[in-house]
């Protein structure tokens, strides 16, 4: 019932909002008692924004992403995605999800891995082929469609998994620490590529990370979270320009934003 109300509310809120969360609570029942993974999380994410969620382990950043993806159901509050419930949004193919590990099927070539969602969603073969080539080009993996995952480096595998999430052209890209398992050099390179991909495709991105430079470099909005219970401590609208070369990370504006994120993280720890 509460969900239905939220739907109407957000439809009223207008076309610009992609994700709207109001007082979202999520409590897990575990054997040691209840764990409050999210408490009173309220957030509006507009179309075309790049929003990073940063915070220590257990702050609920991944949980929030899973709530948006309808992989978890909140125990309180309202959340809508594209004006629908998360469940409806998923059925409407509103989002692509990128996990921490690439999770490519070892028995499928890269091309076939990218086609996996398209097969499940029932696209015809010609369209599958066309889209597969298009998204592999987007992530700079043209010509790798016949290779098997083990023939690719970790960074290339993760790019292939981003291509898989882009294949059915959802407006919303949910990424859960996609570069967490990669080394710093590869990560820098992928961050740069992701930013240019975002600029070209105009997707709305929700990006979970625990790296401050990564969050500041990529985002138009940074959501700082803290644990026990998982909650938002600060929301920072980035003053950085849309055009961001890697060396912007040495600029005064960048350092200032990074400083504010760090302060937010520290404050979260202080009252925990």
């Amino acid at each position: 019932m509460a969900v239905a109300e939220a739907t109407t509310q957000v439809k009223d809120a207008g076309q610009g909002t992609v994700v709207s969360a109001r007082n979202v609570d999520l409590t897990f029942e575990t054997s040691d008692g209840a764990v409050q993974a999210l408490r009173d999380v309220s957030l509006e994410i507009g179309k075309g924004e790049f929003v990073s969620f940063i915070g220590p382990s257990g702050c609920g950043k991944t949980t929030f992403l899973r709530v948006v993806a309808a992989l978890e159901t909140p125990t309180g509050g309202d959340i809508s995605v594209n004006g629908m419930t998360p469940e409806e949004a998923r059925k409407a193919r509103a989002y692509g999800y990128v996990f921490q590990a690439a999770g490519l099927y070892p028995w499928r070539t890269i091309g076939k891995n990218v086609k996996l969602p398209l097969e499940i969603m029932g696209y015809d073969r010609a369209e599958q082929d066309r889209r597969m080539r298009e998204v592999l080009q987007l992530v700079d993996l043209e010509g790798f469609d016949k290779k098997y995952p083990w023939q690719l480096s970790g960074g290339m595998q993760q790019r292939a998994s981003i291509a898989r999430a882009l294949a059915f052209d959802a407006d919303l890209l949910l990424m859960d620490e996609p570069f967490g398992a990669l080394d710093e050099i590869v990560r820098d390179h992928l961050n740069e590529q992701l930013l240019s991909l975002w600029a070209r495709t105009k997707k709305t991105c929700l990006f979970v990370t625990h790296s401050i430079p990564e969050a500041v470099y990529l985002s138009t909005k940074i959501v700082v979270m803290s644990p026990r219970p998982g909650r938002i401590t600060d929301i920072i609208d980035s003053p950085l320009p849309a055009e961001r070369p890697l060396d912007i990370r040495d600029s005064a504006a960048f350092i200032e934003v990074a400083h504010r994120v760090r302060e937010g993280l520290r404050a979260g720890h202080g009252d925990a």
Partner: protein, 312 residues
Amino acid sequence: MSAPIAAPGAGAGRSGRVGLWLRGRGAAAGPVLAVVLAIFALWYVGTVALNAQWTLDQAARADREVGFAELVADTMAQDRPMLPAPHQVAVELYDTVIAQEITSRRSLVYHAWVTLSATLAGFGFGTVLGILLAVGIVHNRAMDMSVMPWAIASQTIPILAIAPMIIVVLNSIGIQGIVPKAIISAYLSFFPVVVGMVSGLRSPGAMQMDLLRTYSASRGQVFWKLRLPASIPYLFASLKVGIAASLVGAIVGELPTGAVQGLGARLLSGSYYGQTVQIWSALLMAAVCAALLVGAIGAVQRAVLRRMGMDR
């Protein structure tokens, strides 16, 4: 978290090691040969030690002395030795495998085929049954709770106890010949397939299942696109165990009826008449059959995994 799917990756690694073993086989020829020679040496020592008493008894009865050389020679040339010497078994194998028409009742190849046909029929039936049960167990909680305990219980009953009952019951309703043997074979071979396939079908991790949930994939799609391919390396490991168990089942199935055909029949008649040489050659034939069957499964496994891109 770096391995995309932990278990099939491990499976591919396993077959990769097999490949390595095959490539390294040339280098390992020396040690392998040494082990084979050691086994033969031990076998000959055993032959002399176990058969000496009979030679000595015979000599005592005839009231004469035997020298050591004569003793050793005699232990290896007895008609019904306690333990036949390797060359006696080799001669018997030559007589029954090479020197006979393979359609002859005296041909060990003929008997092996009788047993093998029951083995293959039972293996096929057991494998299909095992896969179907595993699919049911993975998809249905009631089946998970109810079938698995029975499957485990079925394997705790000694096959020697249940085989005669299966044969007697089936015989009373007019089913004879290959079918009862195949059923006993299937009874032994379905179990490893159930256990392996259940692990295999459950091998995809939470992340893999979540990924398909984000596509709103149906249970059928999850099965065909993820669970089944992920289970293939597990299936082959089970099939290797299953086919060896099938052969044992077929042989055991030939024992209680006093069958006249098959390797089990050769074992039985050998033991009736104290024909140890015949028993040992039948045992060796059974071992060769098992090796060929397991080898054949291994070849299919390599071909399938290579086709799936999982055999590096």
